[in-house]
């Protein structure tokens, strides 16, 4: 028999409106996302989709999210809470929009500006439309506002606690002047903020229409959808055995020092509740890999959403969760003035540590940790005729295996979802020949199910000189397997010089190369699942990885 949400007979008026409202909210959030990407000025938002949109209830509970980047989606929840803490509902007016990026008021890193807009219907706030977007430059010590050698947030750019960016009269001139004066690319900043505003107004317009269609009980139907998600998430937790599982992993240094930085997590599951506790994680680091609580919520929300992926996309999935971060001064709860711009690597590793811990529960659920590496490669140079060129791409690694399936090779996992750059695009834009883009066979962890393989990409510089800026991960640490499965291979990067010399690259490197040199990048493999039985007969039941 199919389980029921309620023991009391449901109110048919609400029951009839739930699925249409779920679909309408999801559609609205997605259209906000599309509108923002269409209107965005900088390519990081327009092409790579480094932006996110969501809808919230007046009390700050998440109502629906666009299908975009989990890394950014999760951090909108603390952003809305940050706005509400500074601007109570009663102080808000129609046409307002609030802006923030401060990691100590609900932000993540400074280029991500969150914008929140109250939606009024019949004189009352019925919801918030919210969007964040990675802006090209918000000042600081380096163009792009993600300085790899930053040791303080003050070096990373302009810090904005929640401020009123716009009222019914338009953008606040004072705020606009401060923003423009603090960016190397002010037109870009203004244009991308307008793209966010476009998304919020589209969302608000649609929400009012939805509220009209749903009728006077709009808020009740919203509550019912959140309760439904909570119910589905709790059911998934209740179906798993109780227990406590821990996982440990490490970053290849903090961007300044190369000593490994450890992340520890324990999961305590009891009944239909879960505690995720990062106690034992390294203290705050000097480099920019610190992750604010808002950033860490993305990792936790991602995991909670995977428990019942068919559930409505709202706050209900967080109800069974208690997220515990160490006191301020931790890698995952840094104290002012920690540098935070490179928090993505930390959030991805934390997310995979949660997956690793969960894979130990006796239910045979979940997946082995993904390699979780999103290698950022920026190649630039000067052609023989003096013209300059540059391009950046993100290279994915292997996914973790699960009880029923091997991990996928070369795929964006966990809180990221970047696409690759086609070979024909690279060779058209840069004097490079891509000699291979292939699966790095055997790099996934072994086991009953093998971890996903990393990939190999090789680039030969055809003319002139150039620079390689490489930001990898897992050159030292490996994605461990689950339930006896093997660990994935580490990442490797090397340059074969035209004279035959081989130069190995560390996890973060900037080196020169010249015509004829070949750069080979190999990304890490995902963890395997299950121990291979020792071979006792001529027909072993398990397979080994190719």
């Amino acid at each position: 028999m199919m389980p029921r949400a309620h023991d009391v007979p449901p109110d048919p008026v609400i029951a009839l409106r739930m699925e249409p409202l779920r679909l309408a909210l999801q559609g609205t959030a997605d259209r906000m996302q599309h509108g923002m990407m269409r209107a965005a000025v900088s390519s990081i938002a327009r092409e790579s989709g480094d932006c996110a949109a969501a809808l919230f209830l007046p009390d700050g509970r998440l109502l629906a999210q666009a299908r975009s980047l989990p890394l950014l989606l999760g951090s909108l929840i603390p952003a809305v809470a940050g706005v509400l803490a500074r601007f109570p509902l009663a102080t808000m007016s129609e046409g307002d929009a609030y802006l923030l990026n401060d990691p100590w008021s609900g932000g993540t890193h400074l280029p991500d500006l969150a914008l929140v807009h109250p939606v009024f219907h019949d004189g009352e706030v019925i919801a918030f439309a919210a969007a964040n977007l990675h802006h090209q430059d918000v000042g600081g010590m380096a163009a792009g506002s993600i300085p790899p050698d930053a040791t303080e947030v003050y070096q990373e750019g302009l810090r904005l606690p929640p401020v009123r960016w716009r009222s019914a009269e338009g953008v606040q001139p004072d705020i606009d002047a401060i923003l423009a004066a603090n960016s190397r690319t002010p037109d870009n900043l203004r244009g991308d903020l307008e793209a966010q505003w476009t998304a919020l107004t589209q969302g608000a317009r649609e929400l009012k229409q939805i509220a009209r269609h749903t009728g006077p009980r709009f808020a009740d139907v919203c509550d019912a959808l959140i309760a439904q998600t909570e119910c589905m998430t709790r059911a998934a937790l209740a179906a798993a055995p109780d227990g406590e599982w821990t996982w440990r992993d490490q970053l290849d240094g903090d961007g300044i020092d190369t000593a490994p930085v450890s992340i520890a997590v324990s999961l305590r599951k009891q009944g239909d509740t879960l505690v995720i506790d990062f106690e034992g994680t390294a203290p705050q680091v000097r480099g920019p890999l610190n992750a604010s609580p808002a950033a860490m919520l993305s990792a936790a929300l991602f995991f909670m959403r995977t428990l019942a992926p068919d559930a409505p996309n709202n706050a209900g999935c967080l109800a069974p969760l208690t997220l515990k971060l160490p006191p301020p001064g931790s890698l995952v709860n840094p104290a002012l003035p920690a540098a935070v711009n490179a928090r993505t690597a930390t959030v991805k590793l934390a997310c995979n540590a949660i997956l690793g811990a969960w894979s130990q529960s006796a239910g045979g659920m979940g997946v082995a940790p993904h390699a979780g590496v999103a290698t950022v490669l920026a190649l630039s140079g000067t052609r023989a005729d003096g013209r300059r060129w540059m391009f950046t791409e993100i290279i994915a690694s292997g996914a973790g295996a699960s009880v029923h399936a091997p991990g996928r090779a070369g795929v964006s996992t966990d809180v990221g979802n970047a696409r690759n750059t086609p070979v024909e695009v690279i060779e058209t834009e840069a004097p490079l020949r891509v000699e291979c883009y292939e699966i790095r066979r055997g790099s996934g962890g072994g086991g009953l199910q093998c971890g996903g393989d990393g990939v190999r990409r090789a680039y030969r510089l055809l003319e002139g000189q150039g620079w390689i800026a490489y930001r990898g991960e897992r050159h030292v640490g490996r994605a461990r397997g689950a339930r006896g499965g093997g660990a994935g291979a580490t990442s490797m990067a090397r340059v074969l010089r035209v004279d035959g010399a081989i130069e190995l690259l560390p996890a973060r490197a900037r080196i020169a190369w010249s015509a004829g040199d070949l750069l080979i990048i190999e990304t890490a493999g995902g963890g395997g699942w299950g121990r291979l039985a020792p071979i006792e007969s001529a027909n072993p039941p398990a397979r080994s990885c190719p």
């Binding site: 409106r17 599309h34 269609h213 996928r408 024909e424 020949r433």
Partner: protein, 540 residues
């Protein structure tokens, strides 16, 4: 031309629609159940029946046009044998790695982007040396010495079709052509698709996958189209022409050579039919609901809009085709309740076989059509002769009702409401992404189920007016005869499918016209317009 009749036959997943159009505008049509998985036979049966019913002899027929979902369904089902690929050295995994992103963000287990084992398993992916650069210059000659080993392996594996994908072949196809010639010299009966011919545009993954799917469809497409062409020849009918995804028709053997061009054949035909039949040139959103899917598209200035990318069964295909968003909601969509009490419609479909429970063909899962049946929104007897079994529909919905804690009637309302919402959301997303606010457009309903849901969808999308085209149920077949290269045709105005209905009235009301069922919700009125469309209008 002496011959006074044109024949069009559209094969959908559920029914085959056949239409005969006389030069004076007279129309005869029928719906023929596809019954199972047969391909050429039911098409021929439908034509035979239509000719018999309308008294048309082979000599009276000037042309026969066919549109088909055969290729679409083949790509959805992937039951054909895999194909071999020959790709540039170092690139044999490109079709598997795809674009490295994933579709479902929160599914713990990440699904492969492409069903590798079904389409082109690793042992059938070969590499060959030779490079063309971004300017189309040869920078390394093609290594033809590898051809013998590839031909041996392909032949040993019993592969019937092969796709060639070389970098920058869209700039310079000489390597791909030389490779085809060398392979044909060894294996004359091998079907070969070249990426420089199927999709000559940059970005290798999309071009190569499209080419691989073309090769994948070729053996079946070739035998089906040959069988059909032969059957027409035996009957003395004119040579078969096919409706292309990109609009217009082409001789059948062109599409046997490049079957991927048929992927949106039927939906494109329907759109052409609407464009020809609509008097006004105001923006229109066209909604075509069938047994397994709903298609949404836009007419601007009275013309279909086109795009260069479509998706079929989750696989991206890059081909010029009518810009149609297809979602998996149709009459056969299965209703389910997730743990936690969440109602869901689809993506599973009962399709035509075994079909909704109410059809009495052996299906016992609850579907959208069963919900419509319970709400008395379907006629007792459907086009094609199926008599509905209401008790079976109620029984099928009983489990869902129990899980939701609602009565069967309320459950049916919830199902129909969810269907309307799902289609309204797809419609809004499609329109807004093309910078059209649905509120500024009229909704045109076609297909067996379009008029059933159109007014409810319009209301959700903020639209005030729905037009149901005459012959809405066979619009795709009719549209084939309106294709631009077929010359002008027009329908006789005297023929109205609405003759059996009151010419105007107010909802809630179900109108059962031949081949079309129209639902007029409360707050909406209907009237037959002078040009024989049925207009539904929201009251202020």
């Amino acid at each position: 031309m002496n011959a006074s009749w044109s024949l069009a036959v559209d094969m959908g997943g559920t029914f085959i629609d056949a239409v005969a159009l006389r030069s004076d505008g007279h129309v005869a049509s029928l719906k023929h159940p596809r019954a199972g998985r047969r391909l050429a036979e039911p098409v021929v049966e439908a034509l035979d029946q239509l000719c018999a019913q309308a008294g048309i002899g082979a000599d009276d027929v000037g042309r026969v046009v066919h549109g088909s979902t055969v290729i679409t369904n083949l790509l959805l089902e992937l039951n054909e044998p895999p194909v071999a690929l020959v790709l540039t050295r170092g690139m044999r995994d490109v079709p598997v790695l795809a674009r490295q992103d994933r579709k479902e963000l929160y599914e713990p287990v990440i699904m492969p982007a492409v069903p590798e084992a079904k389409l082109f398993p690793e042992p059938l992916r070969f590499e060959i040396g030779g490079r063309i650069d971004a300017e189309g210059r040869e920078v390394e000659p093609l290594d033809l010495s590898a051809v013998d080993a590839i031909a041996d392996a392909v032949s040993d594996a019993g592969v019937r079709a092969l796709a060639v994908g070389l970098l920058f072949s869209h700039r310079n196809p000489t390597h791909e052509r030389a490779l085809r010639a060398a392979l044909h010299a060894r294996l004359p009966s091998l079907h070969i698709s070249l990426s420089s011919e199927v999709d000559p545009q940059p970005r290798e993954f999309e071009r190569w996958l499209t080419t691989a799917l073309d090769a994948y469809a070729k053996p079946l497409a070739a035998s089906y189209l040959h069988a059909l062409a032969d059957a027409l020849k035996v009957r003395g009918l004119p040579p078969l022409r096919l409706m292309r995804s990109a609009g217009g028709t082409a001789p059948w053997h062109d599409l046997a050579e490049q079957p991927i061009g048929l992927a949106m054949s039927g939906p494109c035909a329907a759109l052409q039919g609407v464009a020809a039949g609509l008097a006004a040139s105001d923006p229109a959103i066209v909604l075509d609901i069938g047994g397994t899917s709903a298609d949404i598209s836009i007419l601007l200035d009275g013309r279909p809009t086109f795009t260069d990318a479509l998706e079929c069964g989750g696989l991206p295909i890059r081909q010029r085709c009518a810009d149609i968003a297809s979602i998996g909601i149709g009459g056969g969509s299965v209703v389910s309740v997730l743990p936690g009490g969440a109602l869901r419609l689809g993506p599973r479909s009962q399709g035509a076989w075994p079909g909704p429970a109410a059809f009495g063909l052996g299906g016992d899962l609850p579907t959208l059509s069963d919900a419509l049946c319970v709400l008395d929104r379907l006629p007792p007897r459907l086009a094609g002769g199926i008599v509905l079994d209401r008790a079976a529909a109620e029984a099928a919905l009983g489990g869902v009702a129990g899980a939701l804690g609602l009565s069967v009637l309320r459950t049916a309302e919830a199902v129909v409401g969810a269907a309307a919402a799902g289609m309204a959301e797809a419609l809004k997303t499609h329109a807004f992404q093309r910078k059209l606010d649905p509120a500024d457009a009229v909704l045109v309903a076609i297909g067996g189920g379009g008029a059933q849901h159109a007014a409810e969808i319009a209301e959700l999308a903020g639209m005030r007016c729905v037009l149901v085209m005459p012959h809405a149920g066979v619009m795709a077949a009719l549209g084939m005869l309106y294709s631009p290269d077929e010359g002008d045709v027009s329908l006789a105005a005297s023929e109205s499918p609405w003759d059996s209905l009151p010419p105007q009235g107010e909802g809630p009301h179900s109108l059962f016209a031949p081949m079309t069922t129209v639902f007029v919700p409360a707050g909406w009125s209907w009237r037959v317009t002078p040009d024989q469309a049925l207009a539904l209008e929201a009251k202020a």
